[in-house]
């Protein structure tokens, strides 16, 4: 069954007037809260009105959702960690989680690992073509746009353009792709390489692609599950939104936009990976060892990672796996993380964002991830039923004797060679 696609419009007009949002997502969430389908909404909200300081929030009162209306492109909240660490993995309440593709993919990976509940969670996805770190965004405002970022009403990133609309109604534009190529900064580098613009693995995937030619705005929504269908229906029933079927033209426009972004991501992947892949192996190792040597063992990458979830991490100083008290730590530290996480990395970039020494961690993870996933035909973060290949065994693999550090088994086999011939 293919997913249904609609153009949705909010019936309430205040949202539209604020200019920050079409109000559709907010209306759907409000009606979900009002109808008691969910107990809370996890969203990203500006701090003191600062759009470059968005943090994860749990909202339980429908009216409080207004403060979170509109997408923040220069905030980088860690939603999966928020839900896992501070909301008990949604075990005790039903949550609608609103996020970018990578946020939701992180959540799906945690659902696979039983750290976030599946049934209690509704995933509300928003199209995304990249975010800008708050620091870089401020620099763009100062150096490129010559504006005070606190005067921004809202911003958008589309087709490589950053468009900011100021509170006085004026607009400023910047060619982000050009900035990234010429000055080396712009969107976060994991975003530049990202191949997930439309979160079809959510229950509902919202975005403006496909509405460009519509006269009275609206939001494109793809219904990706029965849960999503239910949410949308509730919002329609309550009169908060109206929907119409998306036209073929709208759908193809959306697909075209997506393809163009995917092309761009491919270009960035080649741009970032080629120099490494072209290095002789010894140089490649030296390159990474040099980067690892900057590490100060803060554990920021591990703590931020939605895939790293072990309660008793063997990399802790209290364990006896890794030497203690020295910086940089042994390369075992990043390499263990790589071995544990690489097959499931969703390229959310949170590890690199948290790294005080600016190690190019997402480059390392995405590079290995892209190679592994080609071998295993595995896409992390899109299907809760599909386990990570490096820790999920197929039946035929289960028939192979486990030799990993199982010394007793090894010895047994060494003394009983006849077993091998069985």
């Amino acid at each position: 069954m293919s997913n249904e696609m609609f153009i949705a419009r909010a019936t309430r007009t205040e949202m539209l007037e604020s200019g920050k949002s079409n109000g559709v997502v907010t209306s759907v969430l409000k009606s979900a809260l009002k109808a008691g389908i969910v107990d809370g909404v996890v969203a990203t909200c500006p701090v003191n009105g600062d759009r470059f300081s968005g943090i994860p929030v749990l909202i339980t009162e429908p009216d409080d959702l207004d403060a979170c209306a509109g997408s923040l492109h220069c905030s980088i909240p860690n939603l999966s960690r928020f839900v896992k660490e501070y909301l008990d993995g949604s075990a005790s309440m039903r949550l609608a989680i609103v996020g970018k593709p990578c946020d939701l993919r992180g959540i799906i990976e945690l659902q696979k690992r039983h750290q976030i509940d599946v049934d209690n969670v509704y995933l509300i996805g928003l199209n995304c073509t990249g975010t800008i770190s708050p620091g870089d965004a401020r620099r763009i405002c100062q150096e490129e746009l010559k504006i005070d970022h606190r005067d921004i009403l809202y911003e958008d990133i589309d087709e490589g353009q950053l468009v900011v609309t100021m509170k006085d109604g004026s607009k400023k534009e910047l060619d982000l792709w050009n900035l990234e190529e010429t000055k080396g900064y712009g969107r976060r580098d994991n975003c530049r390489r990202c191949e997930y613009n439309i979160p079809t693995f959510a229950d509902l995937a919202f975005g403006k692609w496909g509405t460009e030619e519509s006269k009275d705005g609206g939001v494109f929504v793809e219904v990706c599950s029965s849960k999503g269908k239910n949410l949308l229906a509730k919002a329609q029933d309550s009169g908060a939104i109206k929907v119409e079927n998306a036209s073929k033209k709208a759908i193809s426009l959306r697909t075209e936009k997506d393809s163009k972004e995917l092309e761009r991501a491919k270009w960035w992947r080649e741009h970032d990976f080629k120099p490494i892949l072209e290095m002789p192996l010894a140089d490649r190792l030296e390159y990474w060892i040099r980067e690892f040597s900057k590490c100060i063992k803060c554990y920021g990458c591990r703590d931020a990672c939605p895939i790293c979830y072990c309660e008793n991490c063997l990399l802790e100083a209290t364990g006896d796996y890794l030497g203690v008290g020295r910086i940089p730590p042994d390369a075992t530290f990043p390499l263990t993380r790589l071995a544990h996480v690489a097959d499931s990395c969703v390229a959310c970039g949170q590890c690199q964002d948290a790294c005080p020494m600016e190690l190019p961690l997402t480059k390392m993870f995405t590079l290995l991830n892209s190679q592994l996933n080609e071998i295993f035909k595995y896409e992390p973060g899109v299907d809760v039923e599909e386990g990570p290949p490096l820790s999920t065994a197929r039946p035929e693999e289960m028939r192979v004797d486990d030799t990993f550090l199982d010394l007793a088994a090894l010895l047994k086999r060494a003394t009983k060679p006849e077993k091998a011939s069985e």
């Binding site: 994860p56 770190s133 620091g135 100060i296 063992k297 703590d303």
Partner: protein
Amino acid sequence: MLKYEKTICPYCSCGCGIYLVIKDGVIVGQEPQSDHPINEGGNCPKGRNAYHFLYAEDRLKHPMIRKGGRLVEVTWDEALDLIASKLKDVEPNEFGLLASGKNTNEDAYVLQKFTRAIMKTNNVEYCGRLCHSSTAAGLGPTVGSGVMPISQLDIEDVDCLLLVGINIKETFPLMEKRALRAKAKGAKTIVIDPRKSATARELGDFHIQLEPGTDVVVINALMKIILEEGLENREFIEKRTTGIEALRKYLESLDMKELVALSGVPLKILQESARAFAKAKTACVLYNQGLNQHTTGSDGIKALASLALIAGQYGRPGTGLCPTRGQINGEGTGDMGCLNVFYPGFQKVGTGAHEKFEKLWGVENLPAEPGLPYTKMIQQTKFLWIVGTNPMVAAPDIDRVKESLASKELLIVQDIYPTETAELADIVLPAAAWVEREGIHAYVDRRVQKINKLVEAPGEAKPDWWIVTQVAERMGFKSLFDFSSSRDIFEEIRECVPPYKGITYERLEDILGGIQWPCPTEDHPGTPTFFTDAFKTPDGLGHLQVVEYRPPAEVPDNAYPYFLTTGRTIFHYHTGTMTRRTSKLNAEVPEAYVQINPQDAKSQNIKDGTILTLTSRRGSIEASALVSDDVPEGLLFLPFHFSESCANKLTNPVLDPACGMPEYKVCAVKMEVSK
């Protein structure tokens, strides 16, 4: 209710932002704050474990008075009444107060006001005496101000970094990030350090691995090379400095071979370093305890400032000598006048400052003579009030410190834990810490940021300023200390300390990353760069200094054949009170270690983990060996965070005559394998 609340890390003075996650009044976690301009989401190991110290089991929760040799819990009234009655008839010179680099500006202001206005003495000091007093003494005569003259953000744009006696990778990791950015853009880095520190390994294009205590020799050699090769900035020297003739003449008189021999640094490295520094368009000098903590610390700083001056490296973003204060309020407590020679705002004792403050405060007979410096105060006062500082681990020659503290008529210790110092106290007062109260701090680059109260203090613990105000009231001075909030105090600070005039609580709430003082008016953006037009000396010129080398007060001999130097690790903080109560940090380095060169280790069959006894003329400690070529032969390194292997039992309390700085960085020891 779950909430992310912004605050600033409680450890070093970089001033990094973090989010605390607070659930029902308790901190349950912390998250990166990606929008903070200093750290942009990254934190060091201490910063990533920022809040656990608050929840240590042995937090002080109630006031205590020593009764029958034992500290007994009492009410606040009993403790405060007792202090007020004991202090009532004390002579000015009998009293002293040690403030902290961790208290807020509001706390510090009230502490010094109490000492000056009620106790009528300038016997008020803080740990700044032990880390950067040589900075004031060295930079005062040279450029007229001992504060960091730039914004730390500018470090990433320089094309030469000179790091002197500073291991930023471990002590200011978020400055290391900026240094790495500069290096990635091609900046050259010169590291002057007797140890091959983590910083020297990572950044040092040139590592000047000098003999301990020969900083002046090296700096003179660098200047001599620059002048001999004509690499000095003549225009800058001409327009902005004075004293070049005397300096040139003196340096000409020095024999380069002798400088090389004394410092143990190959001529080639000195030459290449001098050229890299002199030819840089923008060069930044960061320095810290490795330069400061000598009997010649102020000399070294004078020479270093002269080096920057002849190269024209002052007065532009990123340039100049940057002293790096190690505590969140290392700058601010000094700004507020917790120094024996400065009223608030660095208004010097003896220059009419007392008259000015008599008017401002409406009091008479404020002290006009300098008070005692930190270590002398410990020795010479009879009534000592110690707030948030731990001299029983931090001061040199601990065995003597203990004798002095134990013999006080009254020792009041106000802290958050039963520290080694509190154990000796007659009265112990529990203080609120960090996000348990509100207030401002001035971070390394004069960056003023505000801490909000986010959780309640444990038990009956109170803010430092509240405690002092209560005692003042009981001594009959309510009108002088009529403060009901930190905001009340800050408003008085704005009146009395001109550089803070334009800073308000509201502005600090609004501006991420705070405001760099001086900020004269409420519409002033703050001042990132100093000395752009003139130096702060009376004539506005940089005063080049002729500095002669003097060896350390104690050097190795037959009886004590090793140099000992002390320092930090990235996982611990100062006297360990906070980090050793933070399990993840303490698990990294749970005990002291002595770094020893492999050759020295071999001579006594010492291996990693061998227990060594180190003995100096003052005392003796045990610690386990860590064999490492970080240290050259003949040099031992001992971190000072561990009270049970207390480095300061060994260190030499002899002072720099110019500023009262003890010679922590060099003393002579003997080393034996423990039986």
